[in-house]
Symmetry: C2
Subunit: 332 residues, 2 copies
């Protein structure tokens, strides 16, 4: 069999809709023959494992457990969708406290049971915050943890394709940066449509400015739209994209959509957010986005919003003040 | 891109849990760049399409429609999970009437809009009956339609692996034939466990006979067990397996688990049921199972049960008496 690696992959939250799809996606992508499904909800977890057994994949060792130690020990790759789900009407930020606490425990468990993990992908929202909290408590290097942010960029691609009635393949290099939330920064200057620069199309009125404003709103509310249409949170695209991120970290096709990554430079400090990233076998690494003055200002606003969320989590006592972070994680 | 074919695949029931997983599975397996999602429930269908767009698959043309003509015209491959779902406590047979009527309409739509379809896979239960009804009204040759039955065999593999605490890969050639329902015939004589013939293990008491009876019951109730554990019908394994069947018909890896197929020979007449089948680019073809006298008797019982269901559907007026079938489908 042609797996990307033989190392253990653990899927946290495997009983849920995203987690169970991740399991199937990872098996279909032939990431590794060693897949462990973890969830505290035993019966539903067993149901998911049964579904995978009934697919009759060959050459794989699928295990499942509600025991965190058993799940995490020996794990090289870990992906977690194990937070509370966003319900209709909630913003991602409403989930802040509960999921930040879950992230803190996840980080502690990683530190205790699999400190040598090679890459962690965090999916549960607000992922910029849960990823940051996880990394802090796990004590791992910034290159070893990324968060799901790409859906905003893929939604921009999809919305532009629909707007112009063309194949999404004709829409290139769509990018949103900053928070994976309602205050993301949608960049026009990176993208092209049918070979034409998107920002020029907006300037020239090929996309009337109100249409562009409306389109950006549809991008920002892409997740809410799925809930409205399907009556449930998006789960297929988050699963597929996050497993593609893990595949890249295992040495598969590099993942080049923006991912959330830890940033601490002269412009943005002590934050996790979507940058111009690549995930490959060396983990996640980033370049600073470069856009128009207005776009960069929007990114700064998004950063400010994330800082506020981070500071709320500090005030809640879930993570210590920034000055004390290095006692938990010397890499931050 | 390396697709199996460029021909159009239509997924019927794409807004549902099985159908939406089929869409993702077909895209991940690179079956064809031309995938059409059909469902009468527009908003949920759009939600599924959006999920697929947000995955950002490349080189594919994903369309979706609530218009049956648009969905079916030009379709070479069709897979349908578009029936009513089985609810907790229902047997597959409880669904008989409603889904037989849906199948009759599906067959008529195939005849009207895509009579040259190359292969159809029917997933909605009771699939032996819905497949038969669809084939009758579609007017297509028996090699061109198969029904999902393999899950019973893969469940036997899984249950044996769990019983002996070994990898499912050590359990070979598990087979259940006849109905994909609670009266399936579970064969022991085809299978081996760790290289040892299963029927011999039962005879010698390596599996105590009560354990074998219990194990067979778990196989038969495998679908019910998923509902009990997960609180929802199985959807991942039916999707994965049925898309594997379509992939085989497109010329991919031949599908060698038992599938439901039309049978009309000296032993079994005018029925659709799981046989020893292969699906390949020539469609589905079968050999008669050969088991012990007791197993073959069990298969005859399963056949009898299916005949009864078929005759009920005739009595309901959904399909004509067998003597008149050739006016609808000369191949039957």
């Amino acid at each position: 069999m042609d797996f990307l690696t033989n190392e253990k992959l653990t899927i946290v939250g495997a009983a849920g809709m995203i987690g169970s799809n991740m399991a199937q996606t990872a098996l279909m992508m032939k990431l590794t023959p060693n897949i462990c499904l973890y969830d505290p909800f035993g019966p539903a977890l067993e149901g998911v494992a049964e579904e995978m057994f009934h697919c009759a994949f060959e050459g794989v060792n699928i295990t499942y457990t509600t025991d965190i130690q058993e799940a995490f020990e020996g794990t090289s790759y870990l992906v977690s969708s194990g937070g509370a789900a966003r319900k209709a009407g909630m913003t991602r930020e409403d989930l802040l406290k509960g999921n930040a606490e879950i992230a803190a425990q996840l980080g502690k468990d990683i530190r205790q049971y699999c400190p040598d993990v090679k890459h962690v992908v965090i999916v549960f929202n607000p992922a910029d915050i849960t990823g940051l909290v996880t990394m802090l408590y796990a004590g791992i290097e910034p290159s070893k943890l990324s968060t799901l942010a790409a859906l905003d960029s893929t939604r921009l691609r999809s919305e532009l394709a629909k707007y112009f009635g063309i194949s999404p393949d004709k829409v290139k290099n769509c990018r949103t940066y900053g928070g994976h939330g309602e205050q993301m920064a949608v960049y026009a200057s990176t993208a092209s449509v049918n070979g034409e620069a998107l920002d020029k199309m907006i300037e020239s009125g090929k996309i009337p400015s109100q249409d562009w404003v409306d389109l950006k709103l549809r991008v920002v509310q892409g997740g809410k739209n799925i809930i409205d249409l399907r009556g449930r949170s998006s789960f297929q695209s988050p699963s597929y994209i996050s497993i593609s991120m893990i595949a890249a970290a295992m040495g598969g096709t590099p993942f080049t959509w923006p991912s959330g990554t830890y940033v601490n430079n002269d412009k943005f400090q002590h934050i996790m957010m979507a940058m111009e990233t690549v995930i490959d076998k060396n983990g996640v690494h980033y370049k600073m986005p470069k856009g128009s003055a207005a776009e960069d200002a929007e990114l700064a606003t998004s950063y400010g919003h994330l800082c506020k969320l981070r500071d709320e989590v500090i005030e809640m006592g879930i993570i210590p003040a920034i000055a004390k972070w290095d006692t938990l994680n010397p890499h931050m």
